[in-house]
Amino acid sequence: MMVAKKKVGMIVSILLVGGALGYLALGNFGENVVYFFTPSEVKAFSTDYYKKKVRVGGMVVEGSMETYPDRLGLTFQLTDGEATIPVTFEGIPPDLFKEGQGAVVEGYWTGEHRFESNLIMAKHSEDYMPIELKRAGVELPRKDFMKSLVE
């Protein structure tokens, strides 16, 4: 009798603590998942997506980068070949961020059709191309190019 009671108490307390921790782990999950989109998809956003943190990957358009005269940050155009979106960025871009290179930006699509970003991740696009394609000199299909940015 005593043993059974003790066992129940033990199982209950493990479940309680485990449950609380599990809730902690799962309850915080949803809001911290950030989705990745292409500029085309961003342009087609419904109002539900405004003010929602997302990541967008694309190529920084040559000649589109401008810095502010009075404060840190810059504006540039990000393209996936089909659609182009204007991006404003506050802060210091990473070392590898350059015009004509791939970049992933994190931030919010505003109602005014401008992407406000506070994080840029840049990569050498050429390093992320499959070797066979690079050798053959074949232009990457858009989809594969987008994929190469995230992987």
């Binding site: 033990m10 911290n32 989705y35 810095t67 070392d95």
Partner: protein, 649 residues
């Protein structure tokens, strides 16, 4: 020619790995000791052959033989000698070879070391190790060989990734791999215990030092990685919940649970299935960690171009090992039922139980966050990431809970704690904890993390301090010596216990460093010209000049910043904006000044053509406690490994 010798040696090693598996199976079937000896010979030869393979690769790097594809892609004629050696494991082909080389080293040592005392285990140990070695050698030889030629040879190499040209990066991969691979020894002993049906405590006692050795290597590897990220990536933080950091953190979490949990089995013969489960999971996560990093399935600074074939192979290999291990565990589980029930919820057993629960939830959290993007991509085709805030939110309470248990565990009796003993052991620590919280509150600190942290650190720290004080004075009185001598006398007489507590103290120091440097970090980013200055906390930073400097394989613009406290010049910091010659890759090199156990951290991410520099200053209070705490943890482990052997060991 040299590289072909290496290649050929590794091919023979592969054949011998197959032989090792066959001979140990035959040894089990025929009970013929000659087959075991043959297996030992095979394993030893594998070690020698893989050493030749490693040596050949290192030689090719030093000889700058760019007709070797791997050398050409990972080094350059201008690369300094030190980094040329590190470049051997700078790419994934070479790092896999390093992995299997360390594995063969450890398994050969284990076989010779335990040969006389553990004869019954040997066939299993040799067979299991040869199986893992075989898996890696197949991968190396068929899917990612560092021995391939590149004909015609390019005039010069592509260069090692500039971010990896750093002293911490030289040691980071080997330490990490020694940790991963070190767990293979207790894993193999556990498998031997399962397969042979010798399910007592022996496998745990024999491998205790291996476990803790693996643990300290993994810990050091992780800390080195954090230290590198801290000053080399130039963002002033040391942990970003990057998938690859997570990959190394998961085996660490379960491994830590394991090395605590085995104590319950040693002392109370409980948790038998659980311990086998934990070591299987630890080693599996080590393999999965390698898989995640090396297959390129996750987005990270560490991963390389995706190769689906290689990813698929590693997945099959890892699944095989995990399948065998869990299959064996399931077959034997009924035999492992412990006869001993837990006596009370208020006992050391239950503290260990909750310790394990916390560590496993932590692991599950990291696992979920790291693999969820993969799952979503496979099933829904959408691309997602899980941000650092998720991990931070979940880990804060888990870490604080574990720290609290750390103060309770060593001072609560086995079986059942009476109320009197609880009061005697924990009254003062609770008071100290409350007082530390109140003091911080009065000083104006309002962060919940810092205040709760103060309670658990005060509580656990006081518990350890009282224990050490009591036992030292006991020994001092008993042997009529002074307190300090009493301390050493007590320490050496109970070295296993007190070395563990040294590690715990290290953890406390580390946690104080983490809390202070995350909650009270200040950051400032400014654009400035020569002569301009900016203020950060109590310091004034003035840009004195910008000039060009030249390194062996890079050139840089260097900013000279004067750091003043009041009117006194503290130091001149010289952050650089470098461009590496071969790859034309820019990097941002930080400059650091240590003061009051904290850091003034400065980078200069950009200098425009008309002389405007962007400077970024970060003040990280108590950051030295993070690295210092890591050092104390390591010291504790060394004291544990090199403790005098007791009669029952």
């Amino acid at each position: 020619m040299i590289i072909e010798i290496g290649h050929f040696s590794v091919v023979i090693a592969l054949v011998l790995a197959v032989f090792g598996i066959v001979s140990s199976s035959l040894a089990l079937r025929t009970r013929d000791a000659d087959w075991v000896r043959a297996g030992r010979m095979a394993l030893t030869l594998i070690f020698i052959l893989l050493s030749v393979g490693m040596a050949a690769l290192i030689y090719s790097f030093l000889a700058r033989d760019f007709s070797v594809h791997y050398v050409a892609t990972n080094s350059n004629s201008q690369l300094p000698l030190f980094y040329t050696i590190a470049a051997v494991w700078g790419g994934h082909e070479g790092s896999l070879l390093l992995w299997v080389f360390i594995l063969s080293t450890f398994s050969t040592i284990a076989v010779w070391l335990h040969w006389r005392t553990q004869p019954a285990i040997m066939p299993y140990l040799i067979g299991m190790e040869c199986l893992v070695i075989l898996g890696f050698l197949l991968l190396i030889l068929f899917l990612s060989s560092p021995f391939d030629r590149l004909i015609p040879a390019p005039p010069d190499g592509k260069d090692l990734n500039p971010l990896l040209q750093d002293p911490a990066m030289v040691m980071h991969p080997p330490m990490l791999y020694m940790g991963y691979v070190g767990f293979s020894i207790p894993f193999s002993f556990a498998m031997a215990a399962l397969l042979s049906g010798r399910l007592g405590e022996e496998w745990i006692k024999v491998t205790q030092r291996w476990t803790i050795f693996a643990w300290v290597c993994l810990t050091t590897g992780i800390l080195l990685g954090g230290y590198w990220a801290y000053y080399e990536l130039g963002w002033g933080g040391y942990w970003g919940w990057d998938p690859v950091e997570n990959a190394s953190f998961m085996p660490w979490l379960v491994g830590t649970a394991f090395l605590h949990s085995v104590m319950v089995q040693e002392k109370r013969k409980m948790f038998k299935v659980w311990n086998l489960f934990l070591i299987i999971v630890t080693f599996s996560l080590s393999l999965i960690g390698t898989f995640l990093v090396r297959s390129g399935v996750l987005t990270s600074v560490h991963t390389f171009a995706t190769d689906p074939e290689r990813g698929l192979y590693i997945l099959i290999f890892v699944t095989t090992i995990i399948g065998i291990a869990f299959g064996a565990l399931m077959l034997r589980a009924n035999k492992l039922k412990s006869q001993i029930e837990m006596d009370s919820m208020v006992s050391r057993e239950s503290v260990f139980l909750f310790n394990n629960l916390f560590f496993l939830v932590a692991t599950a959290t990291v696992f979920l966050g790291t693999l969820y993007p993969l799952m979503i991509e496979t099933w829904q085709g959408a691309k997602v990431t899980v941000g650092p805030p998720y991990y931070n939110t979940v880990f804060m309470p888990i870490a604080l809970g574990l720290l609290f248990l750390m103060g309770v565990g060593p001072y609560i009796p086995w079986r059942k704690a009476s109320q009197a003993s609880l009061k005697k052991n924990f009254l003062i620590p609770v008071v100290v904890g409350v007082v530390s919280t109140v003091v911080l509150f009065v000083l104006g600190i309002r962060s919940l993390f810092a205040l709760t942290g103060a309670f658990v650190v005060g509580f656990s720290g006081a518990a350890i301090f009282i224990d050490v004080g009591k036992i030292s004075s006991l020994y001092a009185r008993r042997e009529s010596i002074n307190l300090l001598k009493g301390f050493f006398s007590a320490f050496t007489a109970n070295q296993r216990r007190y070395s563990g507590l040294v590690t715990h103290v290290g953890v406390l120091v580390l946690v104080v460093g983490i809390i202070a440097s995350t909650v009270y970090q200040t950051e400032k980013v400014v654009s400035m010209r020569v002569g301009d200055e900016f203020v950060m906390d109590d310091y004034r930073v003035k840009l004195e000049r910008i000039h060009d400097v030249r390194g062996k394989n890079w050139s840089a613009q260097e900013g000279v910043f004067e750091v003043y406290e009041g009117d006194t010049l503290l130091t001149k910091l010289r952050p650089q904006k470098r461009v590496y010659d071969a790859s034309q890759t820019p990097t941002t090199e930080s400059a650091i000044y240590a003061k009051n156990m904290g850091h003034i951290f400065l980078t200069m991410p950009d200098v425009s053509a008309d002389g405007v520099a962007v400077a970024r200053g970060v003040i990280n209070p108590l950051i030295l406690w993070v690295w210092g705490g890591g050092g104390i943890m390591g010291l504790g482990v060394l004291l544990n490994i090199f403790r005098p052997r007791k009669r029952d060991e």
